[in-house]
Each structure stands twice: as C-alpha cells, then as structure tokens.
Amino acid sequence: MKVNRMVGEVRSAARGLGRNPRLASIMVLTLALGLGANTTIFSLVKSVLFAEADFGRNTGRVISLHSMHPTRAQQLDDAELSWPEFEAVRSALQGVEQVEGFVERNFTLSVEEGAVRANGASVTPGLFSLIDAKPALGRALNDSDASDFGFESSVVISHALWQRQYGSDPHMIGRRIPVNGRGLEVVGIMPRGFAFPEHQELWVAYKPGTAPANAARFMTALGLLAPGEDVASVSRQLEPLSLDLDRRLKETQLDYRMQAARFPNSFVGGTAQAMSALLLAVVMVLLIACANLAGLLVARSVDRRREMALKIALGASRGTLIRELLAEVFLLSVVGAGLGFVLASFAVPRLVSSFPEVPPYWMRFEVDQAAFGYCLGLTFLTTLIAGLLPAWRSSSIDPGVDLKDAGRAVSRSPRTRRLQEGIVVGQVAACLALVVAAELMIQSFNNLQNADAGVREEGLLTARLYLSGNEVDAPQAKARALATLMDGIASRPGVVRAAATTAIPADDGGSTVLLAKDAGASIQDAVPATVVGASDGLFEAMGASLLRGRDFTRAEFEDPESVSVIVSASLATSIGAGGDVVGRSVAAGTGSALQWRTIVGVVPDVQYEEFGEETRAARRALYVPFARLGSRTVALMVRTKGTSEPLIAELRALARAAHPGIALFGVRTMEQVRISTTWEQRFFARIMGLFAVAAMVLAGIGLYGLLLQFVAARTHEIGVRRALGATGRAIATLVVARAGSITGLGLAAGGLLGMAAARGLASLLYGVTALNPATFATAAGSVVILTLTCAWIPVRRATRVDPIVALRQE
C-alpha cells in the first residue's frame, strides 16, 4: 500500500514536472552541474585523504614513522628517521608486528643505448612481506641479499622495467644486469603495476655494513599495526622513545620527536588541506544551486496554491502535500544526479591526466562505489535542502482564502517574500565567500609564479644526471667527468655557459648545516645555511652576477680539499654584521668537528627549496666546490642564447661522450621547472576560480529571478506610483534599492563566511595575507557589479510598466 502510494506520488510528480519541461530542464541541469562537480572533486579528494593503499591482507594496518624537528618547516615526506631512531622503534614499539624501512634511490642501468636512469629503493628485506607484496616471477629479497649501499648483489625489478628495457626476456630471472656499474642478479619480477613506494622500478636489499652516522636521517620507516591497534597508541609510545634518544645522543637527536601517521598521509602533505578546501568549496556551489532550486520551487508553489487549496479541501493532509512536493524534488535530484555522475565519469580521468606529476601507483582516482554512494547521499540531502522548506511553506495554506483569491494573497505574502529573499541572501553570502577564496588562491598562485628565484629564468636549461661506475668513485674523477661534459656542452652553438651544481633553484634544497662565525661561537649563535655544490661558471650560467670577490676556479672545482666557499648575500649579512665578509672564515659542523672555510665571493640570493616550502636557510646558501661534496647526483645549468631545443636533442650524446657512466634525465627549461613546482597551486587556483564563477552565475540567476518576481508582484503598485507622478528614475530606484538591500545583507553575512574561508586557507597561501581588506573589497565589488547586472532587465521592465495596463489588471 505504502509502496503503491509512493509510486503514485512519483508518477504524479513526473506529470507535474512534465507540464513545464523548460523549468524542469533548468532545474535538472543546475543539479547535474552541482552534483557532477561534487562527485568529481570527491573522487579526487577521497583518493588523497581517505583511500588506503592496497597492501593485500595488510591494507589499513600500515603506518609510517617520522622524525620532526620544531625549527624545520617539514612535511612528513621530508622527515626520515636516523639509524638509531630506526633501531629504537624496531626494538621497542609495542602493538606493531613489524618495522621495516626503505631509502629512495636513483640507479643507473647500463643498457645498449647507454646509461639510463631508473627510480628505485633500497629496502630492508622484510619490507615486501610488510606490504604483502609478492613477486610475479622469481622470489622476494631476503636477508642473504642485504648489504650496504653499493655492495648489493641481487635486485628485484618492476614489470614495466622488464618489458621496457629487457623486452620481457623470459630468462630474466638469474640474469645479471649492470646497475650502478655493478652486475646484479635479477632474483624477482614484481606484478604489473607494482611501483612501491610511488614510481620505483627496482629494489635492492639493505643492511648497513658499518653503523650509519647518527646525524644522517635517511630511512623512511613503515610499521605493521597489530590487529586492534591504531596510530594513536603507537604515537603515545614514540614520545618517551624520542626523549630517551634525546638524552643519549644529544648532539644529533636534540629536540627531534618521532611521530606516526597513516601510510598515505606521508605522501600527500599540504595537498590534503587544499583538497579539503576544494571539497568544501564545491559543496558550497551545490548549496547555492540548491538555493536556486528552492527559489524556483517557492515561485512555482505560488502558482499552485489553488491546486493545493483544492486538495486540502478534498481531504489531503499537510503531510501528503509535503510528500508530493518532495517527490518532485527527489525526481529532479535523481535525474540530475544521474547526469552528474556521468559528467564526473568523464571529468575525473581527464583531470587526473592533466596533472604534470604522476600520482603514486597506489593512489587510484576512480568514480567508484564510494563516489556513487557520496552522489546518492548528496541527492537525498539536496532533496531535503532544496525541497523541504518550499514544501513546508507552500503546504501551509488556508483553503478559505486561497480558493477565493489564490495567487494574489500569497504572492504578496510577506512570509513567502521573506523566504525567497532569505534564500537569495544566503546565495550572495556563499558567493562572496567563494569569490574571496578564489581571489586568495589566484593571488597566491600569481605570487608563486612571479616570485624571484634569484636566477635569470629565460634561456636557462636544467638537467639532472647520475655519475655511475667505480672509475668515478673519487671526487676528483667525478669533477673531471663533469668538466669534460661542461666543456662539451659549452662548445655547442648557442651555449653561453654550462655549469654543474648539486641543487636546482626553486626545486631542490641543499643539505642544511649550522655555520659557526668564529672559533668561540656557541651552537645557539650558529647560522643555518644550505650547502650547495658548485662548479666554476655556475653563477654566470644562472644569471646571478657576483656581488663581491670572485668565482671558483676550475682547479678549486676539482679539488676535494679546497677551503674556498662563496656565500649568498643573506648569509653574508648574517655572518658579517654589515662588514665585508670576503676573506672571513666560517665553519660547518660542531664542536671538535668544525671545518673552517674561507669566503672568496658573495653572490645574490638564490631560492633553494620550492616556493612555499622555504626554510630559514633557503636563501642562505653556502656554495662549496663540487669536489668537496663529491655526490654522484648532479644538476646541470646551461645558459643559452635563443631556443634550447637543438641542444636538448644533443645532450644525451654529449653526456655519453663525456663519460659512459653518465645517466642524463629530467631535462627541463627553468620555466618548466617553475611550472612543475607550482602545478598544484595552479590547479587549485583554477578549480577554485571555476567554482567562484559558477557561484556568481548561480547567485546571479537567483537574484535576477527574485527581482523579476518583485517587479511582477508589484506591477500594480508601480502603475499606481506612475499614476501618482513617479518618474522612471523613481521606479528604477525602487528596484535597485530592493536589490541593494538583499545584496547588502548577503555581503554582511558573506563577509563573515569569507573570513572563515580565508582563515582556513591561510596555510596554503603564498605572499598574501588571508584577511587582507583589498581582497574582500574587490570580491564585494564583483558581487555589487553582479547585482547591478542582474537588476538591469527587471529595472527596464519596471520602468516600462504601463499604468493603464497595471491598473486595469486590478
């Protein structure tokens, strides 16, 4: 019986909507856009915020362990453990079945076409069992495979690498492949799609030969929670462990505190907050769309008063009327949701493919069951939000009045009018908040785009390379190989200068050291600085001319014992207290391990670290001759005249010619570096901007509709006013004043909402304060312009009311 009644109500609702297909189409489209946008954003957000990495039987139980220092602006993915910390958690944590670790590394494979670079990781032997990963072919790594860095004998490779580089060789297991100049035996091939932790393609087993330096924080640690345990219970144990290490190893552990997190959280960083902001914003867009729907429904209900009055007179209860009206809204919502779900299915893959950075392999952006459930839930909510109030309002009628004078009495009903105006006030408020948020994000992105990295970006090409092979073990050998490459590049047409460094500006940070200014300085007086390896000519290549002193010479570049250093202007100020620092000495290290250097030059500040992730040391650069660091991972900086396209095509050959063990990768212009390091902010700014535009359009439609109704309801009054002598201007003032009062209230409420939104976004902003008056003023100005635009046609209609016609209608 109840089901029959519901079916009847839905059928009746469909008929009712069918009588005005244009209006129904507008409502369905509005809902489709709102629900589709929400489903799209939810599909993205859930993968970042909520989804668990698929670790088979251990899904949901894998946590990551980190070590954070209060003075460093760290994200979780930049907070590895030191070896003492790793051993401490391995031995002492309760409620954790297993603790393993990995170190992300880059490897050089020697293949037919030369040296190629592959992302990989050194993993503790038990890591694959912790994440319940088994090779598709061969076996996993075990204790007998484990050795220190550079002494590995076995390797497990990815399915993609096996296909791409080795042609899916059926005899791959047992084959020896040159990795970093050493022949490693392939013992296993992982299943298709496996790329733990993100995009890795080969894995070697790690066990330190000698205890690593206590200060080196290099191990990303994972734990497997025992059934029934959670992150909080592990976190509570980490504080006393950290304090104990603090006490025992003060020099390297002071103030470091370990913490635990869900595994995915360690990869999402600040993205999580931005995603949450997007989700909130898109929900607000949906609310504005619901308000439009509600406004249309209220207006429609005015036309149906006589029908409602008749139904009551014939015995229908108020509840029956409400159910019938809600059935209509539910039907609209379902159709809108269906269309929206289809829209989302198209939008999500296209959005994901537009990301310049490939997400981790375990992050799946799909419009799946969870998204369907979210869409369904929103459909019900939409029905309630958009339908309940209009249904309640339009069911509260007096048949005695409405059967005699339906339409006129209620169109002038103050309560109906207040309800409609209240809806539009809410829309304007939400619109303002979204515009404020979008403006802030766009300003922030523009600041990022325009932030000065300290280098001349135009005409600057960058590349990364890895020096593999035992013959370049010695720092001098590395430097000579690089010198050959730099000279080879510099000889090409169009190249002004080629240089080598260990960090690309606005992308990489260097390692941070504390510098002592003089022999008696305490650690509290030490100045944090970023150490960057440099060749001769680096500053010329970067377009950062020397301010004082001189550049490194080629001899210093190749000398691992060189004591010359070059400092940035900020570091010079910190050290020199106003005086010239050229010729002064600074030392890195602590206590008896101080290593004194002589400053030979001062250069302008260059930004190391991505914009938005700066530390105090980001512009305090201490440049040391490359050979002093002797790292295998190097960056090239090449200054060109005109386009660098021809050079890019030649770079790999030039690298091979300089040394066969040079694996070149990541060739990008400096502009491309800027784009790749700011794409997230661009993405969020664009999406937020889209939402703000959608909100303006929807709120504008709501305001326009309300003003049209206002004019229609007051046609008689306008006619009387005209007959009594009102000019066109006086009538226009009437309409504009009404629009102004609604907008004014909306702006007041929206100002508060906007402040809350701005505060929520504060940590995501770059170079702009959240509560700056200019942003709010321009946002409010946009809304005022919207109001005037929406009022234009209603004003024209009002001023063209013929008093004769208006009075005759009476």
Binding site: R412, H716, E717, R722, A723, G725, T727, A730, E810
Partner: protein, 240 residues
C-alpha cells in the same frame, strides 16, 4: 433629457474659461486587417470649476476617456488642450509634469498601497513633487485633519473599511492641490451610505473651486454634478 445624437457641438461653452478642450479626439487599437475604435470624434470643452459626470453603457469608452483626460494614456489622435497646453504635442516628460502639477485621480478600487500606512499613502504623491519633508508633513497633516482621519494615519489599508479606504483615496487625490480631480466610479465598490459620503465630499471640493470629472453609472451620483456627458459606442451621444 435631450434625445441621443451621434455628434453634437455646444457652441455656448466656447465663451467660458476652458480648462479642457478636446477636438476630434479618437482612440483605437489595431485588430486583424483594421482597427477597433474605442473613442470616435470626441469634441468637448470643460470649464474651470465644473463638476462633470461622464455616463454611458459598459464599453462606451468612459474610463478610456477619463485616462486620456488624466494624461495616463498618450496614444490617441486629435487634440487635447489642457489649460492652453496642447497635451498631445508635449514630450512624455513634459506631459508627466503637467499631469503631476494639475491632476488628481480617484480609482474605483481605491488602489492604496497595502504596505504603506494611511499617512504614507497620502505622502506618496508629494514625495514625487520635490517637496521637503517638513512641507510634506504639514500638507499631509492638513489633509488628515480636513478629512477627519488623523486617528487612522498609522493604520494600513487592510485595517480600514471600504468607505474609509476610498476616503483616503480621495484625500490622496487632492493632497497635492490639483486643479482637476478625475474619479473613475468612485463609489462603485461602496455601500450607498458610504457612496453618499464620498459624493458629498466631492461636492464640497467642487464648491471650494476644484474642477471634477467623474465616470459613473449612477444617475444619483450624476445629480451632484452640473453637467452630464454621455458616450455610446465611443461616440459623444449627448452633453447636458
């Protein structure tokens, strides 16, 4: 009563001070291949101080004529002269100024604004006439007093009886001291007692110098005036 004729001139009127003179005034609407005439060849004069009743069957064009006289409707042919101004040759803005300064209108359905109090309804015409607030207050106060409705100034139209509403309607029509009062079936929605009160009021206003033109179906109401103009099918049937 004189017999009805389709067209009558009244040369005797030409010698008085004419407030209004209509010469061959016609009003029509396009329909299909031709036109529908609402008023045909209306020529008449109305002197200052007259109290004229326009009568005729439904559809005769009475209200149309009244709205043309009230300068609400500028779409007609022929000449309409008002106090030596040729109305049909004026620009709409000038016509509106002429109307504002000289004419008050009383409607059958009162047409008070429901959201305004009695005081505010009376003040409304003055607010369109560049008067300071103090002046408006003084004038409205006088009118409230004159019509004996001071006690009702804060009430809304929905709180008044029909007769009281029309009283306010008449008060609003004269608040700006118009030279001419036009009334379209002013007692049409009132009881006979209320109607009599309103007509007595009109008579008093006429005696005080206001020119009044009313459209009425009531012969009784017509006796309050001193002349009757009869229309039939848009034609001037008689004037006496």
């Amino acid at each position: 009563m004189k017999p009805e004729r389709p067209f009558i001139k009244n040369p005797g009127d030409l010698k008085r001070t004419h407030m209004i003179e209509l010469r061959n005034l016609e009003k029509s609407y396009p329909l299909a291949a031709g036109r529908v005439y609402v008023l045909r060849n209306i020529s008449l004069s109305i002197a200052e101080g007259e109290f004229v009743s326009i009568m005729g069957p439904s559809g005769a064009g009475k209200s149309t004529l009244l709205h043309i006289l009230g300068m609400h409707d500028g779409d007609f042919t022929g000449d309409y002269e008002f106090r030596a101004e040729i109305v049909n040759k004026l620009k709409p803005r000038d016509r509106q100024e002429l109307q504002k300064g000289n004419i008050g209108f009383v409607f059958q359905s009162f047409h008070l604004l429901d959201d305004l109090t009695v005081y505010e309804n009376l003040e409304l015409p003055l607010s369109y006439r560049d008067l300071k607030k103090g002046e408006r207050q003084a004038i409205v106060g006088d009118v409230l007093d004159k019509f004996n409705i001071v006690g009702k100034k804060d009430l809304y139209p929905a709180q008044l009886s029909g007769g009281q509403q029309q009283l306010v309607g008449v008060a609003r029509a004269i608040v700006a001291k118009p030279k001419l009062i036009l009334a379209d079936e002013p007692t049409g929605n009132l009881h006979s007692d209320q109607g009599r009160e309103i007509m007595e009021l009109f008579k008093k206003l006429n005696e005080e110098g206001s020119t009044i033109i009313q459209v009425t179906h009531s012969e009784t109401n017509a006796t309050y005036g001193n002349r009757v103009i009869r229309l039939k099918d848009g034609w001037l049937a008689a004037t006496n």
